[in-house]
């Protein structure tokens, strides 16, 4: 008989070891899945985890992609993690990401074709505001009417996707695009382009913002009273009220930060890697960021590493799809599996496992 015994306090060793264990278990389970698909599992794992970084043929293209993909994931996940720690479940980051992109792009395109240095910063601010406003809807409904924020934030993703479809063929459509859906190319307009800052690194302003966000979140969580309040609210809501935390203000705060960061990720994406507002410029970063947040154990530094790892699975997945014909959906399932294993082994942080009988003597 195996039984779980609650540890008096969470284990620090396991807090670090569980994400690694989860990755290993996922690699094993993923290999089985690839084998079931009739692919060589060793080749698949190598193509996903090794080749994008070290293969002489692909690394040149793939390595910069690592930061390009990790940037938005880290930016969004950092914001979400603050909320998750506080028990505030914003799972609609995908919607806030889309709205940030739309708001930022609209602010810029309104000034087209002026060339001026203030346009890009203006778009960035508009992007953050767009995500922030979209996140305020569930936050205010939660605080005013106690409406379930999980459902509202998620349902708003579908609303945002429809709005995106609407502006891509309507308000923001490129008038010179020959009637095709999609906006002007923002990456090719100097005033709005979010270009690579150092050639061949993939480093763009979104990555810089992600690093700043990580540092900000670290300081907030570990040096500032707000961080203690966030943890309190998540672990013991009554203790938080005792400490004088206003739960409503905390809900608004967490949604504001995570919404604004998701919005930023959105505007950096459409002005750089994606280039334009199109019906499907969003590729699910808002959802994958949830995995990143948990994989990083809701810790800013952990999220930084987890974001890079998850970016690697995206790039490796594309490579595997191109080289080995592994369907893209397999990578999505692979990422989902990672979250499962992570949640399963997380039990080791809070409980120790005891083997042995509880039989009557």
């Amino acid at each position: 008989m195996i039984s779980l015994v609650r540890r008096p306090q969470p284990s620090r060793v396991w807090a670090w070891a569980t994400p690694i264990l989860a990755v290993l278990l996922t690699v094993i389970a993923g290999s089985l899945m690839f084998a079931a698909l009739g692919k060589d599992p060793v080749a698949a794992i190598r193509t996903i985890f090794y080749d994008p970084l070290f293969d002489p043929q692909f690394a040149g293209y793939s390595r910069p992609q690592l930061l390009v993909k990790a940037g938005p994931l880290i930016l969004i996940a950092t914001g979400l993690a603050l909320g998750f720690k506080a028990g505030v479940w914003n799972i609609g980051a995908e919607g806030q990401y889309i709205m940030g992109a739309i708001a930022g792009a609209a602010a810029g395109l309104a000034l087209y074709p002026i060339e001026a240095t203030f346009i890009f910063p203006l778009m960035v601010i508009a992007g953050a505001l767009g995500g922030w406003i979209w996140a305020m809807i569930p936050a205010i409904l939660k605080t005013r009417f106690n409406t379930n924020e999980i459902l509202v934030s998620l349902l708003l993703v579908y609303v945002a996707e429809n709005l995106l479809a609407s502006v891509a063929v309507g308000a923001l459509r490129n008038p010179e695009g020959g009637g095709f859906p999609g906006s002007r190319n923002l990456a090719q307009w100097a005033s709005s382009a979010n270009a690579e800052l150092i050639a061949d690194t993939g480093l763009h302003w979104g990555v810089v913002a992600a690093i700043i966000a990580v540092i900000f979140a670290y300081v907030l969580l570990h040096r500032h009273l707000t961080g203690v309040h966030i943890r309190l609210a998540g672990q013991a809501p009554r203790a938080a009220r005792f400490a004088g935390v206003n739960p409503n203000r905390l809900v608004v705060f967490c949604f504001a930060i995570s919404g604004a960061l998701a919005g930023l990720a959105g505007i950096f994406e459409v002005t750089g890697p994606a280039g334009q507002i199109s019906i499907d410029f969003n590729v699910g970063y808002g959802f994958t960021a949830i995995i990143v947040a948990f994989l990083g154990r809701l810790h800013p530094v952990g999220i930084l590493l987890a974001g890079l790892l998850m970016a690697l699975t995206y790039i490796g997945g594309e490579l595997a799809s191109f080289m080995l014909g592994i369907p893209a959906a397999a990578i999505q399932a692979f990422q989902g599996m990672l979250l499962f294993f992570l949640l399963a082994v997380d039990v080791l942080t809070h409980y120790s496992i005891r083997l042995g009988s509880k039989r009557l003597a």
């Binding site: 008096p8 306090q9 009273l225 943890r231 309190l232 013991a236 203790a239 005792f242």
Partner: protein
């Protein structure tokens, strides 16, 4: 001598790091009320959990009427004729009485047949109940009746009662005792768990006393003095706290016409509560939990805001201020629930120090935490109040109840409040820690602070308070000087208006 109903031989149960029961042997005869006496942590609950099939012993054996008895589940125990009334009721607030009763029976009849039986049994034992009532709406005494009726319907040979009077008013206790005596006279054995000595002397035929997981004595309680029982139970003599009586003629805090809705669906609303606390005075507020205690503490703490002018301190209206602003003004509180309210289990003691001491002790400036100062403050509390812990970095959840209670009360006292309000300060705390806490509260008052102690423990309130009042159904009685109050007077104050019809069985 007749064959015992339940014979227990050498039961041992060990948990990691602690032996809860070590070679415990005892015998319960048919038709007796058998007391199981001991302090918190003496191993009483582990023992009864083994008898009720919730926990399995590591060693030892039990016999029921001469046959081996080793229940593997509460269902098996019930089938063998053992019923148990828990201290923390295992009731479902959103379900009605009949559904609650049905859940506790192994093979219940349909609800429509069960309801009349509940009425019959509850009437004949003087425990009136309406089967259709939602349990969440019942008083603590009525809830206990649900538990008892649930057991009685199974016609138990042995009824285990775990600290049954801790939630009752003295009058309700009398009703309960009448029921238990009637059951005994009908041949049911009762295992009565308590640490209240006078009760045991009044009710029980035999007593087994546990200390540190082992049986230290068996006796006939009526033949012993309460003092002697206490010595055996605790293992040494206890000093009563010093009570100098230091009230000054200077108002510390004033509550005026405070009314509040219930804090949660099944809570009690506060109705026109008024009181005046002087500096250097200890006010005791008695009453069964769930009668507005949590609401009163929350209103004083600032967790719930009340109408303007209802709470004033030194002429300043605090009614609309939050917890932090009140702390700055010198009004500190320590809620009942240690884990989850006064402290967060997974945070360290240092981090928990920030909960209430952040601004008052200047542990934080412009929102940034001074961790070394915070740790020093936490270590100061640990030293001063003899909190047993490896260090300030230990998670609050890793401390024993008594040690954590010393920490959370100590955390407030160390901030030298002008007014301190505590709710159930020694609930579930061992006698030595309880004495430390009470002395600390009295010392605080002696230094000129006003103290309000909300508690269910009447002995405690008589020990510490200068004036006493009862909170029942959200109404506060008039305060009376604690010295010279008799148990009957207190009982009438606590009885309030409800629930006082005499038992039908009398």
């Amino acid at each position: 001598m007749t064959q015992p109903l339940l014979q227990i031989d050498g039961l041992t149960k060990a948990y990691p790091g602690v032996v809860a029961n070590d070679d415990v042997s005892m015998a319960i005869r048919p038709g007796e009320v058998h007391a199981l006496l001991g302090e918190n942590g003496a191993g009483k609950s582990t023992l009864v959990k083994m008898i009720f099939g919730l926990v399995r012993p590591n060693a030892g054996r039990m016999e029921m009427n001469g046959a081996p008895y080793a229940p593997t589940s509460p269902e098996a125990a019930r089938a063998a004729g053992v019923g148990m009334v828990f201290q923390h009721f295992s009731l479902f607030e959103a379900l009605n009485v009949a559904e609650n009763v049905a859940l506790g029976m192994s093979d219940p009849p349909p609800i429509k047949d069960l309801a009349p039986r509940i009425r019959d049994v509850s009437q004949s034992y003087g425990l009136p109940l309406n089967p259709g009532n939602i349990v969440g709406d019942l008083s603590a005494g009525e809830r206990q009746r649900v538990e008892i009726v649930r057991c009685l319907l199974g016609a138990p040979k042995l009824l285990i009662m775990d600290e049954p009077t801790s939630v009752l008013t003295p009058q309700e206790v009398d009703l309960l005792f009448a029921t238990l005596r009637k059951l005994r006279d009908e041949g049911t054995s009762i295992l009565y768990i308590s640490h209240k000595l006078e009760e045991i002397r009044a009710l029980c035929d035999t007593a087994t006393i546990l200390r540190g997981g082992t049986v230290v004595a068996s006796c006939t309680p009526a033949e012993e003095t309460a003092g002697r029982l206490a010595e055996v139970m605790v293992g040494r003599r206890l000093e009563a706290p010093q009570r100098p009586g230091t009230a000054r003629d200077e108002i510390a805090v004033q509550i005026d016409g405070l009314s509040l809705p219930p804090a949660h669906e099944f809570g009690a609303s506060l109705k026109d509560v008024s009181l005046t606390l002087n500096a250097g005075e200890v006010l005791g507020i008695g009453g069964v939990a769930g009668n507005g205690q949590d609401e009163l503490l929350a209103a004083l703490a600032g967790e719930t805001l009340s109408a303007p002018g209802t709470i004033r301190m030194e002429g300043r209206d605090l009614s609309r201020l939050g917890p932090e602003a009140r702390r700055r003004a010198g009004l500190l509180t320590a809620p009942e629930e240690r884990l989850g309210h006064a402290a967060a289990p997974d945070l360290s003691l240092t981090e928990n120090a920030l909960l209430s001491a952040a601004t008052r002790e200047r542990l934080v400036s412009r929102g940034f935490i001074d961790w070394s100062r915070t740790r020093r403050f936490a270590e100061g509390v640990i030293d001063r109040f003899d909190v047993r812990t490896p260090g300030a970095g230990t998670a609050a959840g890793a401390l024993s109840g008594g040690n954590l209670q010393k920490f959370v009360i100590g955390r407030e006292i160390a901030q030298t409040p002008r007014v301190l309000v505590v709710n159930q300060p020694t609930w579930g705390v061992d006698a030595a820690a309880a004495a430390t806490i009470r002395q600390a509260l009295l010392d605080l008052a002696a230094d000129g602070s006003g103290v309000i102690v909300i508690s269910q423990d009447l002995d405690e309130l008589m020990e510490v308070s200068d004036r006493f009042a009862a909170l029942t159904e959200g109404r506060l009685s008039r305060f009376r000087p604690a010295a010279g109050l008799t148990v009957e007077q207190i009982g009438l104050m606590l009885g309030g208006a409800h629930d006082m019809e005499p038992a039908h069985a009398d």
